[in-house]
């Protein structure tokens, strides 16, 4: 229940206050108390260095491979005319079965104010798929813009390190404002307004049907992220993320945090696309020894890779219990 509450708070851009002592379990309090004075800087540094973090770490490798594979499947399917995955990320037919991107479908339904059976099938299929796979998993494992943005992020971080630029943050509430405004605009204007600027749709179509002028817009977004604000589109604008985040509310695939061995040094928050979901890793930030990271998490696994103490792991709720 608290997972859903936390997730909703994060999705609408609210900050979750640090738990008070009353909200924390006795076990986690004991763990925090036990760490007092025990974690010397030198110890923490030693463990950090022992934990080799490479440029392409385990989950990142798997994720990039998956993302590229999925997108290439669309391209190859059309190029070689094998009709395996027809269409684009906004709407597709996988071996004849309808798939519809939930946000694109939402825009269409709001603008058109009518829905045909095929679209219902596509929506239900994709909803169930991401329900099983974690919701915002779409963002980091499938969305082509995410990959470009990830590369742009390396450039951005390098420039920040060189002190050539400064990162500018936005109020996270602006994303839910975008979500509501784009929904309202579709409803009122009768046009799928968001699709006009959606880099996900633009990139997917460009890959499959050939590049166009719309890529200039995607380029501008990337420049904005490189020189002005880190991962701005995914963090503060994209309604697709909110839609899949909402699916993730009910998904069993999550990242689990265990406070026991955590050094609270914050390496996970530095690599995270949505660092607010990892605020529970701050000392005395967790309510319980084991707590799930909220559904605004894209399940990208960067924190799982970077964590020197293995305090963050993937979990499938229920499944791990069954396997034990």
């Amino acid at each position: 229940m608290s997972y859903i509450k936390d997730s909703i708070a994060h999705l609408i851009g609210n900050k979750i206050p640090r738990p008070s002592k009353q909200q924390q379990s006795a076990e986690v309090q004991a763990i925090y108390a036990g760490k007092k004075g025990k974690l010397s800087k030198a110890d923490v540094e030693a463990v950090r260095h022992a934990h080799k973090s490479t440029f392409l770490s385990k989950w990142q490798k798997r994720r990039w491979a998956t993302l590229i594979m999925v997108n290439l499947l669309f391209v190859a399917s059309f190029y070689f005319d094998v009709q395996l995955v027809e269409g684009a990320l906004t709407g597709a037919r996988v071996m004849g079965f309808h798939f519809a991107d939930l946000n694109a479908a939402l825009q269409v339904v709001l603008a058109y104010k009518h829905i045909v059976l095929n679209l219902v099938i596509g929506i239900v299929t994709v909803f169930l798929m991401w329900l099983l796979l974690g919701g915002r998993t779409f963002c980091s494992w499938v969305c082509p813009y995410h990959l470009l943005s990830e590369w742009a992020e390396y450039l951005h971080l390098w420039l920040v390190k060189k002190r050539l630029i400064k990162n500018h943050t936005f109020n996270r509430k602006v994303r839910i404002v975008f979500y509501l405004v784009f929904a309202l605009l579709a409803l009122v204007t009768g046009y799928t307004v968001f699709e006009t600027i959606s880099p996900t749709g633009i990139l997917s179509r460009a890959l499959i049907y050939g590049p166009g002028l719309a890529l200039v817009w995607v380029g501008l977004l990337l420049l904005f992220e490189i020189f002005y604000s880190r991962r701005a589109w995914c963090r503060y604008v994209c309604p697709i993320g909110v839609t899949y985040g909402a699916v993730g509310l009910l998904s069993p695939v999550r990242v689990k945090y265990n406070a026991e061995a955590c050094h609270h040094e914050g390496d996970c928050r530095k690599v995270c696309l949505v660092p607010h979901v990892l605020e529970l890793t701050i000392r005395s930030g967790a309510r319980d020894v084991n707590q799930d990271v909220s559904s605004d998490c894209t399940r990208c696994g960067m924190c799982v890779d970077v964590c020197p103490t293995d305090s963050l792991t993937y979990e499938v709720k229920g499944l791990s219990k069954m396997l034990k």
């Binding site: 027809e86 684009a88 058109y112 679209l119 799928t192 749709g201 166009g212």
Partner: protein, 296 residues
């Protein structure tokens, strides 16, 4: 000591002028971001309002001749129609079409829809009904309406014939020629013509070809239950004429013919595509279709 410091800190933190200033700036930045992004997305309205995004759309597109709003709204911009078209007539619009981005269109002069898929594959592929499933047969289509735009350039009107490749050797457009290959369209450049008087727009018109087929089928069969079933299903056989050649006498002894667009024209654009004159003597108008022509 730490116990004493903490409450002081907590009270002070939100109050520091620096933090206040920071959050004020962040709020301003966020407002500018919101206004900017929404502003940019609403720029998509400009081509729609100006009418520059109006285009020839695939069969069954949910539109009226001058209003494509429903079509843009219902299209999920996935391009499945593009993928199934055997002559690759369908393309997706780019950024300059604004709200019409990713919506399918046809550039008839480059490659028209010749209905060589027979079953309106694009309509069947459409997952949202933007290409409406109410449409069953090519003759039901209402894409536009052909018009002899430059009668003086028309070869038939000049009494001229045509010999060679209709659009030159480099033209990459495809058409299905049933007598050559029933199932696969071939490049127009591989099918040269030798005509005493040019009748390409009539000869290649998919509706006229259908009429010829229907007539052939009828003369072969004495009893025609199949045709009657087809008629009941709305697949009229033969359909109404779309374009005919009519003799034109200018009193100079030259045999001249005039292509006349008829009420069965669906606006598929094959006549515009095949017209050997540069630029095409016959074009498809978007502001009309067979229904509006019949009404007026």
């Amino acid at each position: 000591m730490s116990d004493k410091q903490r409450p002081v800190k907590r009270k002070k933190r939100p109050m520091t002028p620096k933090r206040k200033e920071q959050s004020r700036r962040e709020f301003l930045r966020s407002s500018v971001l919101a206004a900017g992004m929404i502003g940019v997305s609403m720029l998509g309205y400009v081509p729609v309002l100006q009418g520059t995004s109006l285009r020839l759309r695939p069969p069954g597109a949910l539109k009226t001749p001058d209003d494509e709003q429903q079509f843009y709204a219902s299209c999920i911009k996935c391009g499945q129609c593009v993928q199934v078209c055997p002559v690759e007539a369908i393309k997706l619009a780019d950024l300059l079409d604004g709200f019409g981005i990713g919506v399918p269109y046809i550039d008839a002069r480059e490659q028209a829809c010749d209905f060589s898929c027979d079953g309106l594959q694009c309509v069947l592929a459409c997952p949202t009904g933007a290409l409406t499933h109410d449409l069953d047969y090519p003759a039901d289509t209402r894409m536009g309406f052909a018009r002899l735009a430059r009668p003086k350039a028309c070869l038939a009107m000049q009494g001229k014939g045509f010999k060679g490749q209709a659009r030159g050797a480099d033209y990459r457009g495809l058409l299905r020629y049933e007598e050559i290959d029933r199932w696969n369209p071939i490049p127009v450049s591989e099918h040269p013509y030798d005509l005493e008087i040019c009748d390409l727009c009539v000869r290649q018109c998919p509706i006229e070809i259908r009429i010829t087929q229907c007539e052939a089928a009828e003369s072969e069969k004495t009893d025609q239950p199949v045709a009657r079933v087809a008629q009941q299903m709305g697949n009229a056989c033969p359909p109404e004429h779309a374009i005919t050649l009519e003799p034109l006498d200018q009193g100079d002894g030259v045999v001249r013919m005039k292509p006349v667009v008829q009420e069965g024209c669906v606006g598929c654009g094959v006549c515009e595509m095949i017209c050997p004159v540069e630029s095409a003597a016959i074009v498809v108008d978007l502001d009309k279709n067979a229904d509006t022509v019949k009404e007026s």
